[in-house]
């Protein structure tokens, strides 16, 4: 494109205006827009050994078709109350869960709200002893309910290893 503009300028300065129309026709063109959706999609590896969970295997435009939402609340409905607060709290809960159960959370953190009750569901790897798990459970519930000022319930499912939640390899 730059070179063509330069050419155009040269032509204009040299006064060869009768050639202008042909140059424009040959040099100006419209390319396809660069709007490929990249977020929420995973690239295929050479060895086809990247593990994907069901959640990761379905890109975001399949929400409500092949997979459902990770946050369930009435704020996201039309004319819902406390939209921003709910979104920020959900993000906070997700980060807190991932940090507290470090390296143990195998799925997305699912947050369901009913009235003032928050249910947090996740799939956890059985890599620590049950005693530690019980401690972490109580710790998470207690701290989250103190911060958010709502009863918080953790509803966990445990798996042996991350391989149990793998849906496919790409």
């Amino acid at each position: 494109m730059n070179s063509s503009i330069l050419k155009l300028a040269q032509i204009c300065t040299t006064g060869q205006i009768n050639q202008l129309s042909t140059v424009l026709a040959s040099q100006l063109h419209i390319s396809a827009p660069l709007c490929r959706v990249v977020s929420g999609k995973y690239r295929i590896t050479k060895k086809k050994d990247r593990p994907l969970t069901y959640e990761m295997a379905n890109p975001p435009h399949f929400i409500a078709h092949r997979k459902s939402w990770n946050s369930w609340n009435t704020s996201s409905l039309k004319d819902g109350l406390r939209r921003s607060e709910t979104a920020v709290e959900d993000e906070f809960i997700r980060r807190f869960m991932n940090g507290t159960w470090h390296g143990l959370v195998c799925s997305e953190v699912i947050i369901k709200r009913q009235f003032n009750h928050i249910r947090v569901a996740a799939i956890i790897r059985r890599a620590v002893s049950p005693m530690k798990m019980y401690f972490l459970l109580g710790y998470t519930e207690e701290l989250l309910s103190n911060w958010i000022q709502c009863p918080v319930t953790l509803e966990l499912q445990t798996v042996d290893s991350f391989k149990d939640v793998v849906f496919k390899y790409i």
Partner: protein, 342 residues
């Protein structure tokens, strides 16, 4: 076999045993037996596949087997799943699968399936559980009054309707600003109003009256609480009702232009009809407005039909039906033949 390194004193049982073993090590026959036992062909296992397979089979002792596998078939499900809860595969003895897969494959099973955990389930609301809960709260219910057995009787005895909404939403607070809105509905025919008062009432409430359903609707949302809004709509209805009954001095000044409907008796149409009738009978005389109004049209043949036709034409508006009746009534009045259907 193992080598015993312990030496014990002669005479005891252990000593005898040890001696035998030691002897077996030394004897050629014992050695040959041992060789036969280990005769199996040993494979060089570089990748250690054998060990890997063995590792998989090891079960962890601290993990309980699934609760769903040990459930009795005649158990009370309400006790297993008493309240709303995220789906847990170990407590649900159903072979559930969920997930989208290409054609020909089986969807992911219930274990480690996040999709099943996401969707709200109604496992706590099975029909028997609902039945028992309904039985439990039945003692708080009162019987429906027997005389209020139809919609008409309810409408007759309770003409006033109050509509307000309660909102259930996920939030730390149960308040919703939309819950303050109060809607009052009443049928206009159930109010005790005469013709003049009804006209005044309709003029007072404006567009809050729906002609099709005969309903008057008051909506209040100006106060912050529902109770205040309820009081306000009641006040509005009461004030409008009593105001419509009170007659002001200036109401007598109502002229024909202010009329909300067309009254044939007061209008020029009747005047010209009466004049035409008198002329026909050769009775030329001057009449006052009152005399025109009170003139008995039953003397004029076919005048009743003409009156109704003009009234409907003016009140209901021009349309094919009203125009047709108007035309035929005029033909009857003037004694003209019926219009020929072409």
């Amino acid at each position: 076999m193992s080598v015993f390194i312990k030496y014990s004193k002669p005479g005891s049982l252990g000593a005898v045993f040890n001696v035998q073993v030691l002897w077996r090590f030394n004897s050629t026959t014992a050695e040959s037996i041992r060789k036969e036992e280990d005769e199996e062909f040993r494979v060089l296992d570089i990748l250690k596949k054998k060990d890997r397979q063995q590792k998989k089979q090891i079960r962890r002792a601290d993990i309980q087997p699934d609760r769903a596998d040990r459930m009795a078939t005649d158990q009370n499900w309400g006790n297993v799943w008493p309240g709303p809860k995220t789906f847990h595969p170990s407590s649900v003895p159903l072979p559930i699968r969920q997930g989208y897969v290409p054609k020909g494959q089986a969807p992911p099973g219930k274990k480690a399936n996040a999709e099943l955990m996401k969707i709200p389930n109604f496992l706590h609301l099975t029909p028997p559980v609902i039945k028992t809960q309904c039985e439990a709260i039945k003692k708080y219910c009162t019987e429906w009054p027997k005389l209020l057995n139809s919609e008409e009787t309810i409408e007759k005895h309770y003409p006033l309707e109050i509509i307000s909404s309660d909102y259930c939403h996920a939030s730390p607070t149960i308040r919703n600003p939309l819950a303050r809105v109060v809607n009052l509905r009443i049928k206009l025919s159930s109010l005790n109003l005469d013709k003049r008062a009804r006209d005044k009432f309709l003029r007072l409430i404006g567009d809050r009256y729906d002609e099709k359903t005969d309903l008057v609707t008051f909506i209040a949302d100006r106060c912050p609480m529902r109770k205040q809004n309820l009081d306000y709509v009641n006040y509005l209805l009461t004030a409008c009702y009593h105001e419509s009954w009170s007659v002001e001095d200036w109401e007598s000044e109502k002229t024909e232009e202010d009329m909300e409907y067309y009254d044939w008796n007061n209008n020029a149409s009747k005047r010209s009809l009466v004049n035409w009738f008198l002329k026909c009978n050769n009775e030329e005389k001057e009449l006052t407005d009152e005399e025109y109004k009170n003139f008995d049209i039953s003397k004029i043949p076919n005048a009743e039909g003409y009156k109704n036709a003009v009234n409907s034409l003016m009140n209901d508006g021009e349309c094919d039906a009203t125009l047709k009746t108007y035309g035929s009534s005029v033909r009857k009045l003037l004694g003209l033949p019926e219009k020929k259907v072409t």
